[in-house]
Symmetry: C2
Subunit: 581 residues, 2 copies
């Protein structure tokens, strides 16, 4: 039984930092919280719209989850809340089942968050954190890029104010073609101006001829607050010119108040319908959150327990669902800003969430006249930065298999749907891995002069002699590749009539499965029949343990040598002896 | 362009043996054909019944396929024709779609053979012979054993003369329970006597006190002809005692004549319905046929081209389908008998098929009174020999992963169905392989005194020094396992404060994928930050080719050494130098 304090700290990490909290830390956290809030208010509303939900739910999504993660999570700077990718997956899950924005749709979004929470919680409790390893970097990169394209496309709907379908790229294009005659120009103009504002004002602020007048840190703050600034500008413009009369759709009335806490309506039928989506969202939100937390963990030199993170993420999502909101995860942009702004402890997150409560209590009326096209503009500009094709080219150059997996994921997400694309991508990495294993690299090796080291005869200057062939197979021996070894040995035999000994260098063999063992027995017998002896060298401990239980060791017409050098020496000595007598 | 003769021989291997054919060979082939025919007649009829088809189709199935394989196939002794396993799979494919034995069922069986033929042919032409490697030995062994159980159970239907369902074991047991009050005792008694006859007469013939009177080769021939002998005995008993009056079902009228040659009725709908079954049958028949042919190829020292075999098997099945029959493959029992009986060339198969034509032209009337229970007895006795649980125990002892795959296949076949069971078994081997790759063996290694060889410090007496840790990971570095290496290095760092150098021995690393590369870059940076240098040794040629294109090589704060011995020597020299100044 551990003493109480460490146990408490491991279940409830907040205990550690709360003990040493003081005014200096609070000031730093307060400043970081203010900067984060300037991003969080427009992002929250915008990502709620991406998810097909009322903007207020995006504010709700930042309250309880942030407080809960601050208490239980392992990263001091991770900012949890609504995120574009997860909102898009929420939309993709609910869109085929219910009418977007209807009461049942909103209830289902809450239930989805509860389910994501429960799934993450269970995975964390039963220590399934290792599951994250199933997704390779190229697949997750490609998934994020392709989803960013879909998210950007989904906002076109608000820019031109027609009900485009966005199940996938081909559906989008078809629907775009159909609605082309009905597009509204007014929101498009407004949104376009907004996008230009968000693209060019930062360039202006960073330009060299402004730097004497504004300090770099000050202009960096303005850039972060720019979306919020633009929102206020847009509100002013709307009111001054009565633009609502021109048919520009706005956010409309937002109910003020605390996030309503209640269990969303559920039934087993509904749970079953949402389950595949919930599983995918749980997996992706975990991958997102842990990779962001890991990046900051390097900076903080703090170890991160992936199971603890799953528990924290699970409780955060559970609280999101119970407080009338939708699935959440760690946000990369806000976490980076939070850390850069000097957040010292998770208290920064708690302060942010208190501000959000104040906003939702007293300032929701402010956003009534906010044009949806302006929110769409903030999403498109922020999300388009993720769309980058350099990783595709770099990956393809390094490894064709990883490159193929990336393109498979990309086209899967764009042309089928977001979840299926991810699954196809993951499965493709497995298939490509098995494919590689089934085509092992096999080399004939020889001694490098002056060493006891053996290398590929085609790449290095080595010594060999015709009676002995040393074969190295660069893969564990399994049913997938044992035939290749068989064929390789047969071709060596047919090319070399002087051959007396085949030494199999097992330095790369970490496992010999039963199919391979049986084939090795056959090879051994067959070689024996034509007067050639089979030997093994450098068999690893775990493999030898197993071989010792097999028939092969008893049948072996050669020997097992500790090192390849010893094997060749002993056999050479043998051959020389034989020649001399 | 190759000269004509070798090209002709490669397409049409019969050319080779036909040129050197003479009377001596013919005599040997004729004798072998006679012995095979004694097995083939009862087996053909019995396996047709297993497939749910009229007995005559089993005779048809032995005519054209045998002649075609003799012309094109690569094995001189392989006996192609109806086989219990493939018949069972045919039944499992057609049973859910049509009423067993109805005209549409019989037509569909022909179509199935045509489809299996076309699939095999295409796979052979496009050189997909390597696909056979996807099935591991334990899975195919287990599949054969479990199918044997199902085949034996399917014959219970004929023994007790009730229409039992045999989709899988649980359906069988339920159906057996339901029909228990309606079983017929007469065929059960007859079948049981038949089984006892087939089990105990061979024991009698092999017993030591009979050996003075009967030569071993003569008694061996009798044992092979025993099923045919029993059939004639049963026919005699039936006629002498008018047993048909007791309600014992018999084979009934068999139309005599050549196998009717025609294209079976087909439609795209039907083809689509049969496709999954046809694919499975094509795969299994290929696996069966090639492993039998390979076993005899060892004896004949002749290389076997798996793509050529696929073409031969494809044309054999095509001919089976076009001659009113069902899918065929190589039969283990008949091939062994054929080889033992001294068959010299594929002419033995041609002669057998001529005999079968004679039987189906003139002697079908003979079998009219043959009780179905007697045929069931021959199947049950021959198939029950395959049901052997020793392989399960041996496999489990050697390798838990292979053992799990065996049991998964076994229960899949018995409790779901024959095709699903095989697929689950194959998939389980892939999952278990990936599972093993994701949990690599990682060892700290040290120098074995007197050699330049490094081994696991926990298994061998080795030399190390605290400033240098040598790590060997026994697996290619991929997204599945790179985290394990990361965790291993972190734990080594935390345990050893004197550490200055980490050398990663890459002798077992045959590939580094992009996820692993990125993680290695992170590890390198992280180690550099705490004053530890990362080195690589014994990187293989293909891996080095790739690393040379990556950022890692440029960022590396250590070096890449050809051998581990050189690496340790150089770093030790460095450390000693540092201490002395």
């Amino acid at each position: 039984m551990k003493p109480l304090k460490p146990r408490l700290e491991s279940i409830f990490p907040a205990w550690r930092w709360l003990q040493h909290y003081h005014g200096g830390k609070f000031k730093a956290d307060l400043l970081a919280a203010l900067i984060v809030i300037a991003m969080l208010v427009p992002q929250g509303m915008a990502y709620a719209i991406v998810a097909g939900l009322p903007p207020i739910t995006g504010l709700y999504a930042s309250v309880l989850p942030m407080i809960i993660y601050a208490m239980i999570g392992g990263s001091p700077t991770l900012s949890i809340g609504p995120v574009a990718l997860i909102s898009m997956m929420t939309f993709a899950t609910l869109n085929p089942l219910f009418e977007v924005g209807s009461p049942v749709y909103i209830q289902a979004a809450c239930l989805l968050a509860v389910m994501v929470g429960v799934i993450s919680l269970l995975l964390g409790i039963f220590k399934f954190g290792f599951l994250i390893r199933l997704i390779s970097h190229p697949v997750i990169k490609s998934f994020i890029i392709a989803s960013a394209v879909l998210i950007a496309l989904s906002q076109v709907r608000l820019l031109i104010d027609v009900p485009l379908k966005i199940d996938n790229l081909s559906v989008f294009l078809l629907s775009f073609w159909q609605y082309l005659p009905y597009i509204h120009v007014e929101p498009l103009i407004m949104g376009s101006i907004g996008m230009l504002f968000l693209i060019f004002v930062p360039r202006l602020l960073r330009s060299p001829w402004l730097s004497p007048y504004i300090s770099a840190s000050y202009s960096a703050f303005i850039i972060k607050a720019l979306p919020l600034l633009m929102i206020f500008l847009a509100l002013a413009v709307m009111q001054r010119f009565n633009l609502q009369d021109y048919g520009i759709k706005t956010v409309g009335d937002i109910p003020s108040g605390f996030p309503p806490i209640n269990m969303p309506f559920w039934s087993w039928d509904l749970v079953m319908q949402l389950l595949p989506g919930a599983l995918m969202i749980a997996m992706v939100s975990f991958v997102e959150s842990i990779s962001i937390a890991q990046a900051t963990a390097f900076q903080n030199r703090s170890a991160l327990n992936s199971n603890q993170e799953l528990v924290a993420l699970g409780l955060a999502n559970l609280s999101a669902g119970l407080s009338s909101s939708f699935p959440v995860t760690g946000s990369l942009s806000r976490t980076v800003v939070n850390a850069d702004a000097g957040a010292r402890t998770p208290m920064a997150g708690v302060i942010s969430s208190i501000f959000i409560v104040i906003v939702s209590l007293y300032f929701t009326g402010v956003f009534r006249e906010l044009p949806l096209a302006i929110l769409a503009a903030t999403i498109m500009v922020s999300i388009w930065k993720l769309v980058d094709f350099k990783p595709f080219i770099q990956t393809w150059r390094y490894s064709k298999a990883d490159g193929i997996a990336m393109w498979v994921t990309f086209f899967g997400v764009l042309f089928i749907d977001i979840s299926t694309g991810l699954i196809i991508g993951i499965v493709s990495t497995f298939v490509l891995l098995l494919w590689r294993i089934s085509r092992p690299h096999i080399a004939v090796i020889g001694l490098i002069e002056g060493t006891q080291h053996f290398r590929n005869i085609h790449r290095h200057q080595v010594m060999t002699r015709p009676e002995i062939v040393s074969v190295r197979i660069d893969e564990s021996l399994t049913f997938l590749n044992i035939n290749s070894l068989n064929e390789f040995i047969i071709s060596e035999i047919s090319q070399n009539t002087e051959l007396k000994h085949v030494i199999l260098n097992c330095s790369s063999v970490s496992n010999i499965d039963l199919s391979a063992l049986e084939m090795l027995e056959d090879i051994n017998t067959e070689l024996h029949n034509i007067g050639v002896r089979l030997h093994f060298s450098e068999v690893k401990g775990p493999v030898m343990d197993r071989l010792n239980q097999s028939q092969l060791i008893l049948q072996l017409h050669g020997q097992v040598f500790l090192t390849h050098y010893q094997a060749v020496n002993a056999l050479q000595h043998d051959l020389d002896h034989y020649i001399h007598i």
